[in-house]
Amino acid sequence: MKKFALVLKRMSALMLAVVVFCSISTFAFAKDDELELNVYNWGEYIDDGTDEGASSCEYSKDVIKAFEEYYKKTYGKTVKVNYSTFENNESLYTKLKMGGANYDVIVPSDYMINRFIKEGMLEELDFSNIPNYANIADTFKGDAWNYDPDHKYSVPYLWGTVGIVYNSEYVFGDVSTWNALWNEEYKNKILMFNNPRDTFAIALAKLSSDKNNQNITINTNDLTYWDEAYKLLEEQKPLVQAYVTDEVFNKMEKGEAWLAPCYYGDALVMMENNDKLKFTSINNSIANKYVDAFCIPKGAKNKKLAEEFINFMCTKEISFANACYTGYSSPNKLVTEDSTFPYYQDPNGYPADHRLENSYEEFLWLNPETQAKMDELWGQLKKAELGFLKWIVIIVIALVIIALVYVIITRIKKGNDSGLYEDDEDEEEEKTPVLSRKEQKLAEEQENYSPILAEEDKLE
């Protein structure tokens, strides 16, 4: 088996070498006149042209390719877009903070932008290079959104709201309040987000409407509210089937689960695959609204090109294509005012401005203490509770340790009778490091004998 492991190790070493070589050679052979733009976006979050022809969207295209062609045509230079994707804001943060990566354009969510700004990790944008910023609806430039207070660092890409998606085949009652997720009737059929921020936001919103207290917001830094929200989640845990990320699609579409908090854009995909699924926004309390926006991290190599890219993404055709492809709401007013837009005046996707301002709240970056509290409470919520089983296991482990001690003691006793010889030999070697040839030969021979035979030899 060791051999197998060794082969495996060697193979992975070889693979690593190949990867390193390939990446070196790409750098080495990149032409001087060829520009590179590193874009880091969410997975499945841009039109890649796979819907072309099939969908109702007339603008559908491979957006990245379109940019490369556009740039070649306008400036006569080849630009190579290295497009890669991340899974969540936190991994984006870790990557940027560790400094191992080099990105020109990133697309974090509101609260992460808020954090990046507070930690000085973003470049200020030069809006004279982004004339299409004028296409972005005015609501995104005013007080309705506070993650980028002066609107200096980010250009909104796509946004959305959270509501509840439910299966109308099994769920009949009113589910337009967060209380639906605490309903015993739906025990083991409820899904929740597998991340603390979204899950606690729901609990805090419910707390706020339960107590009729407007001071409790999803960005509150009052730790007592977080404790109370935790109690709600603890109470809810036995009803929850699973804390999920992407599995929500599969589980909702198959009817494995009946109720889940969900982004509207995601709900659209599910509803397309199962017509029993319905989406409702939340009526009696706050819900989360979010926006993902283009930013340029500090130290970006090609800021001007990055701004060119952002500008291109704000054109009507491209915004239209992306909004159609992803199903998330577009901040581009040229898109939303176009009556051929498939989600034109969709009340779930585009709530009225006053609702957006009053019933929805975006995440802001929390105080470090609140953040730590949230992580701690989330850990507490998720950790296992074993009850009496724990004591059985501890007793078993204790017995094993006692047995082990017994074994070791009997071995030491045995060692006193037979194992002593080997130790002696070692010591001898240490004392006389230079052995004569004869002695060496003797030692070699002894090595091949069993200890008992060897001992007899010595006696002779």
């Binding site: 088996m1 060791k2 197998f4 060794l6 190790k9 060697r10 070493a13 969540n88 936190e90 991994s91 943060y93 870790t94 903070k97 083991n188 597998n194 991340n195 603390p196 845990k237 929850v240 089937q241 699973a242 804390y243 599995e247 599969n250 589980k251 198959k254 009817g255 494995e256 992580d375 989330w378 850990g379 507490q380 998720k382 950790k383 296992a384 509770e385 074993l386 089983l389 724990k390 296991v393 501890i394 094993v400 082990l404 074994v407 070791i408 071995r411 090595e447």
Partner: protein, 274 residues
């Protein structure tokens, strides 16, 4: 006798030692560094205090890992024995079948297992088609153990098979010649000779089972094993220090478990030999 190796032999081993140093020793040192420092780089042992808070998670992980390992052993041992007794051409085919699932990514396999075990999944669809009562599997400990066994079974079969295929027929014949029946031959010849394979099989199944994080996330519902906790500390909370501390504790626990097992197996071998 190691010191008698020629310079050439040492040089041949050099790439491996370099590899081990860079990708095994250095990372362990980094883990230890993070375990014993706080976010500002000052020395602290508070990180290790978390073991109290996550005791239940640790125990649950070790229990599920042990159960999965035991099931793997029960399935793999006869399987390996049967394979080793087959004619060589068949052995190759069966071994490929054993390894075939390993060619598919673990994440993919676990995700499809989720579809199989769900209440509306393949198993329950077949049961309801046959008018049998449905069984609830997904989001239970059973589902997690099934996931571990399914994913790590080849790692148990292969080492045991390797050892068993080296037991030569004359040895078995000699045992028969000396008057042992089938069962005695197995107990006194085959089993003792296969112990090294069992031990490495147990190591190779137990260690990844205990530290797994994806399987429990997808199949365990609200359950969290220690691997998930560590994953969360690193990826979500960006808290490298406590994540490293938990990994460090897990490493020590696994090390103790392996040491205990090795002690017992050494002892077992000795008693049989003597």
């Amino acid at each position: 006798m190691n010191n008698k190796k020629s310079l050439g032999a040492k040089l041949v081993g050099a790439p491996y030692y370099l590899w081990a140093a860079i990708f095994t020793v250095v990372p362990i040192c980094i883990v230890m560094y993070y375990s014993f420092t706080d976010s500002n780089g000052n020395f602290t042992i508070n990180n290790l205090g978390q073991i109290g808070a996550y005791m239940d998670t640790f125990i649950l992980s070790i229990c599920l890992g042990a159960v999965a390992t035991a099931i793997c052993l029960v399935i793999a041992y006869p399987m390996a024995f049967i394979i080793s007794q087959m004619p060589a051409s068949k052995q190759r085919i069966v071994l490929i079948l054993v390894m075939l699932p390993m060619w598919i990514n673990l994440l993919l396999r676990t995700y499809s297992l989720m579809n199989i075990l769900e209440d509306e999944g393949i198993i329950n669809n077949i049961l309801s088609f046959l008018n049998l009562p449905a069984i609830h599997l997904i989001n239970t400990k059973t589902a997690v153990v099934i996931g571990m066994v399914y994913n790590f079974l080849p790692y148990m079969i292969l080492p045991i098979y390797t050892v068993m295929s080296r037991i030569e027929t004359p040895v078995l014949e000699a045992s028969k010649d000396l008057g042992s029946n089938w069962f005695q031959t197995f107990l006194r010849v085959v089993f003792p000779l296969s112990i090294p394979g069992i031990m490495s099989g147990i190591t190779m199944v137990f260690v990844p089972s205990v530290s797994t994080f994806y399987i429990s996330q997808k199949l365990g519902g609200t359950m969290e094993l220690i691997g998930d906790t560590i994953d969360r500390q690193f990826n979500r909370n960006n808290d490298f220090n406590s994540g490293a501390a938990l990994s460090f504790i897990l490493m020590i626990m696994i090390f103790i478990c392996m040491a205990v097992m090795n002690k017992f197996s050494d002892d077992g071998e000795e008693t049989i030999v003597v």
